[in-house]
């Protein structure tokens, strides 16, 4: 099975799997407590007791980078899953039934799209208060439109396919047709998009962290760590470099998976 995967998919899956393992085994892989501050050992360079050095309050950067995988993976997954579920459901029904529901939903999509993404998220986060859960809620409220649009376009095509017509002539109920016949045949590009989107979610989280509305301290999260560390870039490059490296490698892993999946499922030829 794996042997038949495209090279990029195997490579990408490998990277992501490594991070998954790191996230699960974080407490056993790391030498320190990710939240323990040590004011006697701030901004220590990499090497010796600290594989990747320490940050401005003396926390072990390596430990935090590994622990951050937990948050970032969770954020990526939830930040994609929630809008995916909402968007796919709405897109499926809107595309399949058309009519008033479709028109209303598409107007809502228009409205959401016309809002600048980051600003909408910013407003929602300001409204609900900061924190990772609210960030994901904000994402879900905004990002579903991309999924809805994507799947709706495909549903419009697939619903006219003869096998869907056939399912109708067999007297199947609409939900059955939608979930058993339409959904499985429209979901592949969504999955590929979701992979790219996951990169964007992690990045958006980091951007929000830069404005200070991302995850709450002292949570170890790559974006927040980069944002915290960049102030020390001349004094202690390692504080932001290693989380940056982690985020980029995770992003590359996801992109490669997206590429590979696209190739395997023959969606476009990338």
């Amino acid at each position: 099975m794996i042997a038949r995967w495209p090279k990029s998919l195997r490579f990408g899956a490998g990277i992501v799997l490594l991070w998954l393992i790191a996230a699960v085994l974080a407490p056993w892989l790391t030498p320190a407590d990710p939240y323990a501050i040590d004011l006697d050992n701030t901004l220590r360079p990499p090497g010796g007791d600290w594989l990747m050095g320490t940050d401005h309050v003396g926390r072990d950067v390596f430990t935090r980078v590994v622990f951050a995988a937990r948050i970032d993976i969770w954020m990526g997954v939830m930040g994609v899953l929630a809008p995916l579920l909402i968007g796919v459901t709405i897109g499926l029904f809107a595309g399949y039934f058309g009519g008033l529901f479709d028109s209303v939903m598409m107007r809502i999509v228009d409205i959401t799209l016309a809002f600048p993404f980051l600003i909408l998220v910013l407003a929602i986060v300001a409204m609900l208060g900061p924190g990772i859960t609210n960030f994901i809620i904000a994402l879900a409220l905004v990002a579903w439109v991309s999924y809805a649009r994507l799947i709706r376009a495909d549903v419009m095509v697939v619903k006219n396919a003869e096998y869907v017509q056939a399912a109708r002539t067999l007297g199947f109920s609409s939900p059955l047709i939608i979930f058993k016949h339409v959904l499985p045949n429209t979901i592949s590009p969504i999955i590929v998009y979701a992979m790219t989107d996951m990169v964007l979610v992690v990045l958006a989280g980091a951007s929000l962290g830069f404005i200070g509305l991302g995850v709450q301290p002292p949570t170890a999260e790559w974006g927040a760590m980069i944002a915290d560390g960049q102030a020390y870039i001349t004094e202690a490059w390692w504080v932001s470099f290693f989380p940056g490296l982690a985020a980029v490698s995770f992003g590359i892993g996801l992109s490669l998976i997206g590429d590979g999946l696209a190739r395997m499922l023959r969606i476009g030829d990338t």
Binding site: A36, I37, L39, T42, H56, V57, A126, G129, P130, G131, F210, I211, G212, L213, Q216, P217, P218, A227, D228, Q230, A231, Y232, I233, T234, E235
Partner: protein, 509 residues
Amino acid sequence: MIFTRLLICCLLIFLTTVIPKSVAGEEDEADIIRIVSLYRTQTLDPIKSVFTGSIEAFGQLYTRLLRLDENDELIPGLALRWEISADATDYTFFLRKAKFSDGSPITADDVAFTLLRMRDDPEAAYSETVEDMQNAWAIDDHTLRVRFNSANIPFLQGVETAFLGIVSRADVERRGSVDAFSDIPVSSGPYQVVEWRRNDRLILEPNPHYWRAGYPLNDGAELIEVVDVNTRIAMLQAGEVDAVRYIQNSHFAELSEDPDVVLPVEPAMRVSVLLLNHDRPPFSDKRVREAAALALDMDRITKAMLRGRGRTANTLLPEQLEFYDPDFPGWEYNPDRARQLIEEAGATGADVTINITAPDSDWEMAALIVQSYWGAIGLNVIIQKMDQALYEQRLEDGDYDSSIEWWYNDSKEPDLAVRWALCGSCGNRAYYTNYQNDRVDELVEMGTAEMDPDRRREIYREIQALAFRDVAQIPLYYFPWPNAYSTGIEGLRLRPSTQWTLEEARRVP
């Protein structure tokens, strides 16, 4: 073919961007002082905001009756001299001849108008100074009388604050209270506005009619607003600005090694504190508050946060204030006692939030340190970082457990400080902590009216001691202004009262 065309295209773009450097060269070099700051100019009406950014601008636009010398002592400003009645209710100021930026004379009537406006305008942000004022009127063009209902000692310090910058009665009445201060107000101070690009910068040029002859020493100034601290510092290092307001802990090491930058220790009349909500468990229990204070190793915190640039706070008043008690012992670090108190209060494992504003890496760092110390005595600390508006709202609503803050006083006069920070009945619920001690409130009123300096000293000493023992707030440290300056200019500093000596600044020849 298509490739060559595209390549040429890319090349052209590159050239057009790199060439300007050599063609345009340096921009015009008039002697303009540029200051970049996190803080925004929100309004140009001196009574309408107490936010730092606005105050810094007010000082440049509006002169006051008194001003400060280089040692920050009161000296004559617009008023050449003044007399105070024996019961300290009547103040008479004798004004010098001076003009507004529009060329009209500054009269005693304008000053009276300024004072009354602050007292009467419902939108006046901070009118404590003139709250008790009975009236202010011009005896003649150059003589002003101010009368209070009862003795008012702090007033003299109060007239120096930027909020009492003198505005033109004729202009305010002509344009109206709102329009007179939008865009280009009539100024009485060293500068007048060239352009106010809201959300970006305030561009100033010298006021040709400024009464201090020969000042400003420069050709103008720009107060620039930039959100990101890294950008502010990069601007200084690239020579785009002459001074940076509010650098953070993270950049001290880098900047102190930069030969073109100076990092003077500029005292500020402010104190960094941990606000505790007295209305909400667990901090409604004095034992928990005390434990929270005892749990903190203040000297370690100060050292970590200030890198040797300031002192641990030993009382709740800024050290620059008059009647500050330098001998007060402050908190000792005693985690064992703290843990014991927490257990006694049954607060072990209690959830406690610390609110901080974002994005501010220093507050985050302080919060992390406090979290670690409080965690050691059995409190479960949750840090909540939020944007300023939300933060203020929560503070005002009393919807918080604790909060890392600093506050400053506009003058050396402790009256305003205690009213603001410690007096439970003075309007702000002791800085929204809901701290209430009737004796403190009583002492505050006594302090305002007491004329004998020694007795005043006793009053404020008692206030400091009482509030400290009640753990009204936990004082952390006194910290200087974290400003950085280019070595290319001289004469510029930020006074303890948040005023620039901009008119005295100039480029080093």
